[in-house]
């Protein structure tokens, strides 16, 4: 870890946190509609994972996708504009919060039908294998997905065909409002990977360095042609499932306990102690993030809605 890298990790995590806080505010103001699933608390997973991969490795995620878009380098202005449903959004206002994508960054989308994107990721990995390239595909999903059929179908085929796909399960303990204890016969998700003979392990998802190291190891394994890897990141979302969630299913003490492990101050403290970051660095990054988020909101707010003349665009039949 060098200073530059420490700054980058801290910056990216803080950007996600403040972006999400601002998005919640904008939701309350009615600027953002529909469902809004925030990534607050889980930042170390996206930031650690994407920093361990190459920029042209492919990315598929579930609908909790803002953090991945930002960590992949998507312009916060275009991400916020998409949440606002504007023409300047990443997907021109067609997808919204749950369907961000940026093909130029090999980010192939957030998908909002649980497990629906797992086979897509495997299919893209199949294409890479077919073409004998070194690319791998990162496929991110939650613990809830691991109980559903396509999860198992995809694990099976990924192993049978030895596909270059990295399954990253974000175990935040709740599938919406149902705990893994109540919903899953196996509460340790990585063991589901093991059951298909896939190289699988757990990592502390509140520790960005641990996630980065873990994903680097997984990527090296996959690129050496040994087939898929399954990494379970133990993490926690600090906010509700979506903005519509009154959080009746978990108690405040549990949330507070997890907040003590907040990945952002935890990483900052470590960096300060190791002299990788100074207080001045932290303050500078914090103001930079504040500026980015505030610009994102101004940009989104000033952007036009999609033209009604474009209603039928992007539909072939």
């Amino acid at each position: 870890m060098d200073k530059e890298h420490a700054q980058a990790l801290y910056h990216e995590m803080l950007l996600i946190r403040q972006f999400e806080d601002k998005a919640a505010e904008m939701y309350a103001l009615g600027k953002i509609g529909g469902f809004l699933h925030l990534y607050s608390g889980e930042e170390a997973v996206a930031v650690g994972a994407l920093n361990a991969l190459r920029p042209d490795d492919d990315l598929f995620t579930s609908y909790r996708d803002h953090g991945y878009a930002l960590a992949r380098g998507c312009d916060p202005k275009a991400v916020m504009a998409e949440l606002f449903g504007r023409e300047t959004g990443l997907c021109k206002g067609r997808g919204g919060s749950m369907h961000l994508a940026d093909a130029s960054r090999h980010f192939w989308g957030g998908y909002a039908i649980v497990t629906g994107h797992l086979p897509l990721a495997a299919g893209m990995a199949y294409a890479h294998q077919h073409r004998k390239t070194e690319h791998l595909v990162l496929c991110v999903f939650g613990d809830g997905a691991s109980n559903a059929g396509e999860f198992h179908e995809t694990m099976n085929v990924a192993k049978v065909w030895s596909l270059p796909v990295l399954f990253l399960c974000e175990n935040n303990l709740y599938a919406m409002g149902t705990s893994t204890r109540e919903a899953s016969a196996q509460s340790e998700m990585y063991k589901k990977g093991c059951s298909y003979g896939i190289e699988s392990w757990q990592v502390d998802g509140m520790d960005v360095e641990a996630v980065e190291a873990s994903i680097e190891k997984a990527a090296a394994f996959i690129r050496s042609g040994k087939g898929p890897v399954f990494v379970e990141a133990l993490t926690y979302r600090f906010r509700g499932h979506s903005m519509a969630d009154p959080e009746l299913y978990r108690n405040k003490a549990e949330v507070e306990e997890w907040k003590k492990r907040d990945p952002i101050p935890r990483f900052l403290e470590g960096c300060l102690a190791n002299k990788l970051l100074s207080r001045e660095d932290a303050d500078r990054i914090s103001s930079e993030v504040e500026r980015q988020v505030s610009e994102a909101v101004s940009f989104a707010d000033a952007s036009p809605e999609p033209s009604l003349n474009s209603l039928f665009d992007f539909v072939s039949a």
Binding site: D58, G89, L90, C91, K92, G93, R94, G95, H99, A101, D102, A103, W108, G109, Y111, I113, G116, H117, L118, P119, L120, A121, A122, G123, M124, A125, Y126, A127, H128, H130, G149, E150, E153, T154, N156, V157, V160, D313, F314, V315, S316, A317
Partner: protein
Amino acid sequence: MPTITYREAIRQALRIELKENPELILLGEDIGAYGGSYSVTKGFLEEFGAERVVDTPIVESSLIGLSIGAAMAGMRPVVELMTINFALKAIDQIINNAAKIRFMFGGQFSAPLVIRAVSGWGQLGPTHSQSFENYFAYAPGLMVVMPSSPNDAKGLLLTAMRGKDPVLFIEHALLYSTQGDVPEGKEGIPLGLSDIKRRGKDVSIVAYSRMVLLALQAAQQLSKDGIEVEVVDLRCLRPMDLGLAVSSLKKTGRALVLSEDWPSCSIASEVAARLQNEAFDYLDAPIGLLVSKDVPVAYARNLEAATLPNVSDIVGAVRALLS
């Protein structure tokens, strides 16, 4: 022009594109060593190798999902679904992903895959004898093709495999052995255009897939009594071209819409509604509908036969329209 079967026409189209496009692969359950459950891909594994002709586990949903992912990466997957009934296991992938991807990501990329599925019946029982084209033609973003002749099967499939967007190509099990003239060569037929299969002045029949053949047989019988039926083949259900059907109806004043699907919310009821809107002032009789009986298709031969429309039903329905 050579006379070949519907099955051979499809094989020709697949073989042409396998040779022309190195990114094109076939995927499906038992399409390789087994040769395909309707023998469409028989011998392809030997001819093109396991990298181009890929046997998959029996996982319709993920099979379609895998193909979508490969298509997004720029490959051209052509997937075989053994029967349209199994497409229900994959309907989420087909509707929520394949049909949406271009739109929901603002046109950044698409999923140009072709799904070949088999419709039909033949004492297969209630879960293997269904028509589901309406389920899929309902959703914007997915083209749905149902060819009735070897010529159309070859030409439309060639075009489907060369397009930029997903296509559901529904073959009919009872058409595979039917024969027709098919040009050699690589020329495709544009998707989304209907076709007149027989000229007539008295009654218009609008149909697609196997029902076109039955309509032509009925037309031959009626012709002996001086009744000349015009047969319009829709060929594509999305986009659906009703131009020829409307012109035909304006000429004859009477139309019968034929399909193998159930009566409620069917392609046939949709066609009838649209025809009425377009040609109301020209109608000399209410638009006739002849579809399957509103009951699952039984295994027993006589019950099955009583459920699906046949040639004498069509003849009767045409006479009723004229009386």
